[in-house]
């Protein structure tokens, strides 16, 4: 099965070289997408001859993953796996996600809380709200809707390539469940960021993100 690892990277000069070297070790095709970083990310990618796209303008995470899906669609890949460029998704778990796609799932999500208990932080309250909404809308139970570590089968790549209204992971997941795709979660562990700054460091952005997701899950997907 032709598999592509998509790695969005925005200002990840500390992490990206290590991550890319680790992923190359597994032998899958990979594509790093540099979202118009303002630091040395582009230079590092060039010097190490990593397979990468340099976007001429900053698109944000949703746009970058779209670009990754377009690339996968153009090059006729059967499976796409998204891994964050900040090093929080350990590549050890890649093969187990890809194996599930091979076994016939359309969409596989690496969940932090399938077998482990969810902590009671502010962010996890947000996660619980999204779980509840997805349960109400689709009747299916999910444990980690915001997880960015996910694998897509061919049908899902084609559908994500077309539509503009998958703002982020939770509503994409809700859409697929609602449409009756075969969605599966498997347990993975994630690390804290190794460097750089998270998009969700800004509380206003988190609130905006939650509002978009709630609206999208209830009315759109």
């Amino acid at each position: 099965m032709k598999t592509l690892i998509v790695i969005p990277a925005y200002n990840e000069q500390e992490n990206i070289a290590n991550l890319a070297k680790e992923i190359t070790g597994y032998g899958y095709d990979y594509l790093i997408i540099n979202d118009c970083s303002t630091d040395e990310t582009a230079k590092i990618l060039d010097e190490n001859h990593f397979n990468h796209l340099d976007l001429p303008v900053n698109l944000g995470l949703a746009g970058v993953t779209r670009a990754g899906f377009m690339y996968a669609h153009d090059h006729d890949y059967d499976c796409v796996l998204c891994i964050d460029g900040d090093g929080q998704h350990p590549p050890v778990f890649m093969s187990s996600l890809i194996k599930e796609i091979q076994n016939g799932s359309d969409y596989v999500v690496g969940s932090r809380f399938l077998l482990k208990k969810k902590p009671l932080s502010l962010r996890m309250i947000g996660s619980r709200i999204l779980c509840f909404l997805i349960k109400v809308k689709t009747g299916k139970t999910v444990t980690d809707p915001t997880s960015g570590m996910r694998a897509l089968g061919k049908k899902v790549i084609a559908s994500f390539n077309e539509s503009m209204n998958f703002y982020a992971e939770p509503d994409a997941m809700c859409y697929l469940l609602h449409k009756g795709f075969n969605v599966k979660e498997i347990q993975v562990d994630m690390k804290e960021r190794e460097g750089g700054v998270s998009y969700f460091a800004n509380p206003l952005k988190s609130i905006y993100f939650m509002l978009c997701e709630i609206l999208s899950i209830i009315f759109i997907q």
Partner: protein, 119 residues
């Protein structure tokens, strides 16, 4: 409507009309988008020249002051126009993502070809 308001509306709509035409001539505004604005200016021109029609409309709607009818129409039109602009923004957003991807992947292919030629 007072005669002062009528005169003001008349002058303003004539001014707007001129600005729109000049913008198109100076290639600052696309003709496609100027039509909406020209219709807008014509409407406010009509309002100031024939206020009687607005008195009749106000009576029909049960609005006591005709000037409020003018405000109502203006607000509704502004809403419609703003919504149209948001739709255009969404469309452009989508086009930008596609174009950005195309540019990036062409650049990648070009770089690879260059490297091949150097070898």
């Amino acid at each position: 409507m007072s005669s002062g308001l009528r005169l003001g509306l008349l002058l303003a709509s004539l001014g707007v009309f001129l600005i729109i035409i000049l913008s198109v001539i100076r290639r600052k505004l696309n003709i496609k988008y100027s039509i909406v604005w020209l219709l807008w200016a014509l409407l406010s021109l009509a309002m100031s020249v024939f206020p009687e029609s607005f008195y009749a409309l106000s009576g029909l709607l049960g609005i006591q002051l005709p000037v409020n009818t003018v405000f109502l129409i203006m607000t509704a039109l502004l809403y419609a126009l703003t919504f149209y602009v948001y739709i255009m923004i969404s469309k452009h957003n989508e086009e930008i993502i596609k174009l950005t991807y195309e540019v990036a992947s062409l650049k990648k292919e070009l770089d690879e070809l260059k490297k091949k030629n150097e070898k």
